[in-house]
């Protein structure tokens, strides 16, 4: 366990964290402001990844893929809100879970019919492949650094958008007191639809960036969905700042736990038990974290102000 390794793993955790944040940012607003348990957010990740991979394959240019995928996911979020989600606002959580679960099945199948069941080929653009030495003797893939940077840029972007712009202020006002916001002349319905589409868009960006490093295939968003729900719950529903901190925490815990826990266990118990229990505990670590947080803080670390 050298310092280099720990640093490198911290980078890895950071990268996992910012990706999670991109998915969680929209979802926490959807949950916090509109009070909709939107399980199909993972499908937006998939749509983003497919749009980027398909366009990149057709044009041969990675960046065009990225660029065009943003309006695609925005549109898909906008249309989805209009067609279905707005009818779910006044429903209880259970019905929302059921309807959006149905959406997951639908989207996965639609993609399977449209693009075939096989994973799509998508690779790194030449300009982003290669390595940088983050420490002497520790080359790190440029693309991963790029993901971290884009993720952080998005996080800063979301932060600026929410805390510095007029629309961001409207969003916060709407979250704080929707009736009063409307009474001051803001069209809450359109505002919500916009938030929803932007949230979808960020999930799409996460999908686009994941495309070249993971398999682009139907259902690719679901593992991310569950994890980002965990992030939202830990961070406190509706809090973008909470989502960011929780995403980084979850990313780091998952990454560092996976890599170092078995070794650490080995120093406590015998080899066989450690090898058996290590990966098991590592895969449960995120859920254990969430359960512990909720037991002590039943509304998460940073509950959004009411």
């Amino acid at each position: 366990m050298t310092l280099t390794l720990i640093l490198e793993q911290t980078f890895n955790g950071l990268q996992a964290g910012v990706t999670l944040f991109l998915v969680a940012a929209g979802l926490t607003l959807i949950l916090g402001i509109m009070d909709v348990v939107f399980l199909a957010h993972g499908a937006q990740v998939m749509i983003g990844a497919y749009a980027a991979a398909a366009v990149a394959a057709a044009t041969g240019n990675f960046y065009i893929g990225l660029f065009l995928a943003i309006p695609v996911t925005f549109a898909s979020g906008y249309v989805l809100e209009f067609l279905l989600i707005r009818h779910l606002y006044r429903r209880d959580h259970m019905e929302q879970v059921l309807a959006t679960f149905g959406l997951i099945l639908f989207f996965n199948e639609l993609i399977r019919i449209g693009f075939g069941p096989a994973a799509l080929y998508s690779d790194l653009p030449r300009s982003l492949s290669g390595f940088v030495e983050i420490l002497p003797g520790a080359p790190y893939p440029i693309y991963r650094l790029w993901v971290i940077l884009v993720g952080l840029a998005c996080a800063i972007g979301i932060h600026i958008f929410v805390s510095r712009t007029r629309i961001g202020a409207m969003v916060r006002a709407g979250a704080n007191n929707p009736e009063m916001t409307a009474a001051l002349g803001i069209n809450i319905k359109i505002l919500f639809r916009f938030i929803f589409a932007v949230g979808a868009c960020f999930a799409g960006v996460a999908g686009m960036m994941l495309g070249p490093i993971t398999a682009v295939q139907p259902g690719m968003g679901e593992p991310l969905l569950i994890l980002s729900l965990v992030v939202i719950i830990i961070g406190g529903v509706g809090s973008v700042r909470g989502a960011f901190i929780a995403a980084i925490i979850v990313g780091l815990i998952d990454t560092l736990g996976r890599v170092f826990l078995p070794a650490m266990l080995r120093s406590v118990v015998d080899q066989a038990t450690a090898d058996g229990a290590g990966p098991a505990v590592a895969s449960m670590l995120v859920y254990i974290t969430m359960a512990v947080v909720l037991i002590f803080r039943p509304t998460g670390l940073f509950p959004a102000k009411g």
């Binding site: 390794l5 890895n12 069941p117 096989a118 893939p141 070249p212 490093i213 090898d275 590592a282």
Partner: protein, 384 residues
């Protein structure tokens, strides 16, 4: 379209053949829906190709294949197996990709005195103490392929190796199979989360260990992710990658050039040079576009085995077919396949390298035969 063919072939057979022609009914279970549907589709293609090659008849009998989709759920598989046995009254149940699904259908089918022929799954339980006389594998026992990998790496004089597999039964089987033949320094044995999509942390840890070689087992989508990330992390300069069931006909279309040069062991390869395999691969490519995977080849072999059993015994009676299959020498894409006492094949295992073919398509090529007539290590425990 493909179904239409079967029906047309059947119709033709019915009109041409005299009324007393017998029909053999096969229930073919695989995963057609969901994320793993791609594998099932290839297997279905191969089964239909085999029927086409046999003129819609197996061993002279009209063949009727019922495809069922197990949705990769054990309870659905178990229920479907019962349906095939009790309602459709099939003569043989075949197919099955996943070990856990095989465990779920094993008892209900074998108990009904019907042959169960696996086209892929082969966990140690059904090879050893849990074996049954009515079960046959047309694939391999889980341990066999990594055993070959172990032997190859041992013979190649590789001094240190880093092992990685998902944290589930097959993953553990694979690594213990490998260690049975590899006696060098195992630097670490890492079990990843099942379904994991990002391996960068594991790769970072691996880099820090700097083993001479790395042997992985990451089937399906995990394999695509692993290999991509391996290349992107520049691991080729750190360690040499060996794999089992990670780079195959299913993942290659998504990996393309990034998989070039990777070595793995397998009981089959598209370039195995024998008449049956050449015809199979050529016709598969012509009909469905792209190379078949080993899943497809094994599915094809499964139908050939049933054909062989009926033709040689002249009957679809379970006892008679069983006797023929147990005797071995089944003509398949892997040549004449021998059968072990536990009804698992005794077969060659090859070292394959990922290469580009003449058309520039990425595929695999046999570079070496690691094992000749390799038998699995559980047969001794099997008592019918």
């Amino acid at each position: 379209m493909k179904k239409a063919f079967t029906i047309a072939a059947l119709a033709a057979a019915i009109t041409l053949a005299p009324a007393h022609a017998e029909t053999v009914k096969i229930g073919y279970m695989t995963t057609l829906s969901g994320g793993a549907g791609i594998i099932g589709k290839q297997m279905q293609n191969a089964v239909e190709l085999a029927l086409e090659h046999k003129g819609g008849k197996l061993g002279g009998m009209d063949a009727d294949v019922v495809f069922v989709d197990d949705q990769r759920k054990p309870d659905v598989a178990k229920q479907l197996a019962n349906r095939l046995v009790k309602s459709d009254r099939v003569d043989v149940v075949a197919g099955i990709i996943w070990s856990n699904l095989l465990e779920a259908v094993h008892k209900p089918v074998t108990r009904s005195d019907i042959l169960l022929i696996s086209s892929n799954a082969g966990p140690s339980t059904v090879a050893g103490e849990g074996c049954h006389k009515n079960f046959f594998s047309m694939s391999w026992q889980n341990d066999q392929t990594p055993e070959a990998m172990g032997k190859h790496m041992q013979d190649a004089g590789i001094k240190s190796v880093y092992l990685m597999a998902p944290n589930y039964q097959a993953g553990k089987d694979m690594l213990s199979g490998f260690k049975r033949y590899y006696k060098g320094n195992v630097k670490a044995e890492v079990y990843t989360k099942l379904g994991q999509s990002d391996f960068q942390p594991e790769l970072s840890a691996l880099r820090a260990t700097a083993p001479e070689a790395t042997m992985v087992f990451q089937p399906g989508g995990m394999g695509i992710n692993f290999v991509k990330q391996w290349k992107q992390a520049g691991m080729d300069g750190v360690s040499k990658l060996y794999q089992v069931f990670t780079v195959d006909g299913v993942s290659l279309p998504a990996l393309k050039e990034s998989a070039l040069g990777i070595l793995g062991t397998q009981t089959w390869s598209p370039d195995l040079n024998n008449a049956i395999n050449n015809k199979f691969v050529a016709d598969y490519k012509a009909k469905f576009g792209g190379y078949p995977s080993f899943y497809a080849a094994q599915a094809y072999d499964t139908i050939l085995a049933i054909d062989h059993a009926i033709a040689k015994s002249g009957s679809k009676d379970t006892d008679k077919m069983r006797a023929v299959l147990a005797a071995g020498n089944i003509p398949t894409t892997r040549g004449l396949l021998k059968m072990n006492s536990n009804h698992f094949p005794i077969q060659n295992i090859y070292l394959r390298e990922t290469v580009k073919d003449a058309d520039g398509i990425v595929t695999t090529r046999v570079t070496e035969t690691v094992f000749t007539d390799h038998a699995d290590s559980y047969a001794a425990k099997c008592k019918f």
